[in-house]
């Protein structure tokens, strides 16, 4: 039962108050309410209408109210600073800047602030980075246009114009150039005993790195047509670059924006495809998948070395690398979401070979390995997911199920019952599943919630132990991974995790959930109800195996909703 204890150390209001655990009078106690939104998320459609039929064309794009300013996410800031300054590694400075307190994706514009703490950290970071660049002749030379005039005034103007354009992701106005040159000229007084040019550059870099035009991406547009306001070419270039590559535009994208080539979807599609094929072509989608599949939790996995000698301190990093390599493979091979749950493929390094029972490749580079299709079927049977939801010694059936229900099927679960109790202790001759069933299964207070909404999803993966190794027995008893679960409104039976994974891949719910999440991420905002038909269309396409993840991403970033805003 969740609750929090609080100690207040203060003056004036003291003592010990005990209300015996009850809430304030008049407040309703939490109760196990409805049984979730499974029905609402079902395939839908009235009788006689094929819920899986793909319409001949996408629905008309709908423009909805959206933020016009989007602060760079924490990672976008880090990547953009690195690329703007043309540095290979800024990790020492980067570590001094905090992340954001967020619920949801890391790039939700509405939830990203510049607080006092962050402002101070950004100022410190800007100072250190400017010092680093101006203390290194080579680094400084990379930021000054090669054709800059030799005279100091001309050189300063060339630097401000060129570097400022990349920092603001658009050309500076004359007034902006002048104001930054004025700051540049304060160099000798504010950095005495430092070379005049270096001093001025340092000040300008610090100012640009803290400018709202660097820290925020704008979607102000350029006036416009009836019913919609097209974003400017430079706004499109920034939006596209951050969405797809999680960093600032590269030179070619800047050039395309300057040439006015990002006014139409075809021009944007051309640049998107170029970015996909470039060195950072999967950075955006990998960051998205990283969050959906909670790869950040892998770092925290530890296991008792005596019980699991195969799980070493190197294993968590290998698990993360495997998942990322798998994402890359699906994306770059032009595969779709179904492959996430059906491909019997692992990306195995020496640390993971013992977990999959395959020959160990040399080194830490994940190598693609075809796994036994009777035992492995995509992400949910990879050791990363399985290990991340396990207690010290046993699979965490409940949270494996909760993850699938909430993250992959987008179900809303009711709050836990106030009568909920911790799992009973494992007894001799009791399986992990029996332990969960006795505590939360049929005939317990968890029957309506656990037994119906997520436990079956977790039971399916009882063939995998706490580090994801395949097993047929558990605590001396044969594994029972069979159960049934309602998918798209129909109760479906499965024998194990492989069968469930294949059922999930054929379920519209899982495609709707993924499309909804990807649109949310690429737009950097929550979706509006009016966008549901678009979600539904792409969910049907994805379920039918008719759109790859790459093309799904491409369609979203070339849509009217991506390239325009509501007037």
């Amino acid at each position: 039962v969740p609750f929090a204890a609080v100690l207040g150390l203060s003056v004036g209001c003291t003592g010990f108050v005990n209300n015996d655990g009850s809430g304030p009078s008049g407040q309703p106690s939490p109760t196990p309410g409805n049984t979730g939104a499974a029905g609402a998320q079902a395939a839908g459609g009235s009788a006689g209408i094929d819920p899986y039929a793909v319409p001949p064309a996408a629905p008309a794009s709908v423009l909805v109210a959206a933020p016009r300013l989007a602060r760079l996410s924490r990672q976008q800031w880090s990547n953009a600073v690195r690329d703007l300054l043309k540095l290979a590694d800024i990790s020492d400075v980067d570590s001094g800047v905090a992340g954001d307190a967020l619920i949801g994706f890391d790039n939700q514009a509405d939830a990203l602030y510049v607080t006092e703490q962050l402002r101070r950290q950004l100022a410190d970071a800007a100072e250190k980075l400017a010092d680093r660049v101006t203390s290194d002749a080579d680094a400084l030379a990379r930021l000054v246009p090669p054709d800059a005039p030799a005279d100091s005034a001309g050189r300063a103007r060339a630097f401000v114009t060129s570097f400022g354009r990349r920092a603001f992701r658009r050309p500076l106005s004359d007034a902006e150039v002048s104001s930054h040159l004025a700051l540049f000229e304060q160099g000798p007084s504010l950095y005495p005993n430092v070379d005049t040019f270096r001093a001025g550059v340092s000040l300008v870099i610090q100012a640009l790195l803290q400018s709202p035009y660097f820290l925020y991406r704008t979607e102000l547009g350029m006036g416009g047509a009836a019913g919609k306001v097209p974003l400017t070419d430079f706004e499109v270039s920034a939006k596209l670059a951050f969405a797809l590559t999680n960093t600032m535009p590269d030179d070619e994208l800047f050039a395309a924006a300057a040439a006015g080539q990002l006014h139409d979807p075809a021009g944007v599609a051309g640049q998107a495809k170029r970015l996909f094929d470039g060195p950072r072509g999967t950075a955006g989608v990998n960051n998205f998948n990283f969050q959906v599949y909670r790869l950040g939790t892998y770092d925290g996995i530890t296991r008792d070395a005596a019980a699991f000698p195969e799980f070493t301190p190197n294993t968590p990093a290998a698990l993360r690398a495997e998942a990322l390599a798998f994402f890359d493979w699906v994306f770059t091979q032009g595969r779709g979401l179904k492959d996430f749950y059906t491909a019997p493929v692992g990306f195995v390094s020496s640390a993971l070979a013992p977990l999959y029972g395959v020959a160990s490749p040399a080194g830490d580079t994940p190598m693609r390995v075809e796994l036994d299709p009777n035992q492995r079927s995509g992400l949910l049977t990879q050791a990363g997911f399985l290990s991340s939801y396990a207690t010290g010694n046993d699979p965490d059936i409940i949270h494996r199920g909760v993850f699938i229900a909430t993250r992959l099927l987008c179900l809303e679960l009711p709050p836990p019952s106030p009568k909920a109790t911790p799992l009973i202790e494992l007894q001799p001759n009791m399986s992990n599943r029996e332990r969960v069933e006795l505590t939360t299964g049929k005939g317990t207070c968890g029957e309506a919630c656990h037994a119906a909404l997520f436990n079956p999803l977790g039971y399916a993966f009882e063939n995998y132990d706490a580090i994801g190794k395949y097993r047929t027995t558990d605590h001396g008893k044969p594994v029972n991974a069979a159960d049934a679960y309602t998918l798209d409104g129909t109760l479906r039976s499965f024998a194990n995790g492989v069968e469930l994974s294949h059922l999930l891949a054929e379920t519209k719910q899982i495609h709707s959930c993924y499309v909804q999440n990807m649109m949310t991420y690429l737009h950097g905002r929550l979706l509006a109800p009016e966008e549901q038909p678009t979600v539904d269309y792409y969910a049907r396409l994805s379920r039918a195996g008719r759109i790859s993840l790459r093309d799904l991403e491409l369609d979203i970033v070339t849509s009217e909703a991506f390239l325009n805003r509501l007037p």
């Binding site: 204890a5 809430g23 016009r68 925290g300 809303e412």
Partner: protein, 312 residues
Amino acid sequence: MKDYDSNSPKLNRRLVLRGAGGLMLGLPLLEGFLPRRAAAQSATRSPFVLFVVSDNGVVQAGVTLGGAPEVERFWPTATGTLTQASMLADKPTRSTGELADYAEKLLIVKGVNLPYGSNGCSHSAADAQILTAASITPGSTNCLATRESVDTAIAKAKNPPGRDPLVLHAGMFSPGGTGFDIPGYVSYVAPKQPRVYIDSPYKAYQAITGVVGDGSSASSADAQAQQLRAARSKSINDLLRPQIKDLLARPELSQSDIERLNQHLTAIRDIEVKMSTTPFKVPDADIASMSKWTRSPTIKATAKPPFDCTWS
């Protein structure tokens, strides 16, 4: 830290930080935590308030873990006025007895049990309510408090402008969520805006004291450098403020855009030149001890009861 604080009967910082493994600490007023020698020139110590919040973090009666009911080991034996004598008497069996020296300044509240209910966010729902006394946003995938938290309110009323509360999250932290996958936040800058945690006791200590390792006395060269740094900060900020104001004047912005930009504008402050002349040194062992508690899964090995029940 004992070398400069050993004479103080006040709250031992190391004890607090150690005890906070897996907890969130809110520190709106911080001068009271300054090392004794650093604050020696001050005639009186500034007041401070500290909140220690822990999900399921106390060993208490009524909780069943591992199949057996827990024995009460946390709460005072009786409600009502706390006295040093009563807390000392409790000390052998109750963890809170460790704070007997501060009895007259303590408020211990028990039973704050999801007053506005949970919505599927589990622990996160409790976190959002505990210091805000506010309802939470609807939907089981959303769990944000609809009001600022008490540490924010106190800081606004009592701190100098621009000095925010600090929130330390020490201990096991699961990126991307807890329980039902929703991260928990206890401190709120404003409605639905959680405050970012500091993830390491050492970083919190640095933020509180400004100390980085071997603090040394300020020389005249240091003072001049600090003056120049402040002047640079002012020149840069003089450039930034009009940029934000220009943006704020754009008619295209939404109310949310304006609120976020206004918060940014308010946050821009020039560096205050306030040079410490009091040397003191933080022992390397203390730095190492605090640094290693950066949130990690291994915190369970170092956190001590009663605070060893961390995120799960």
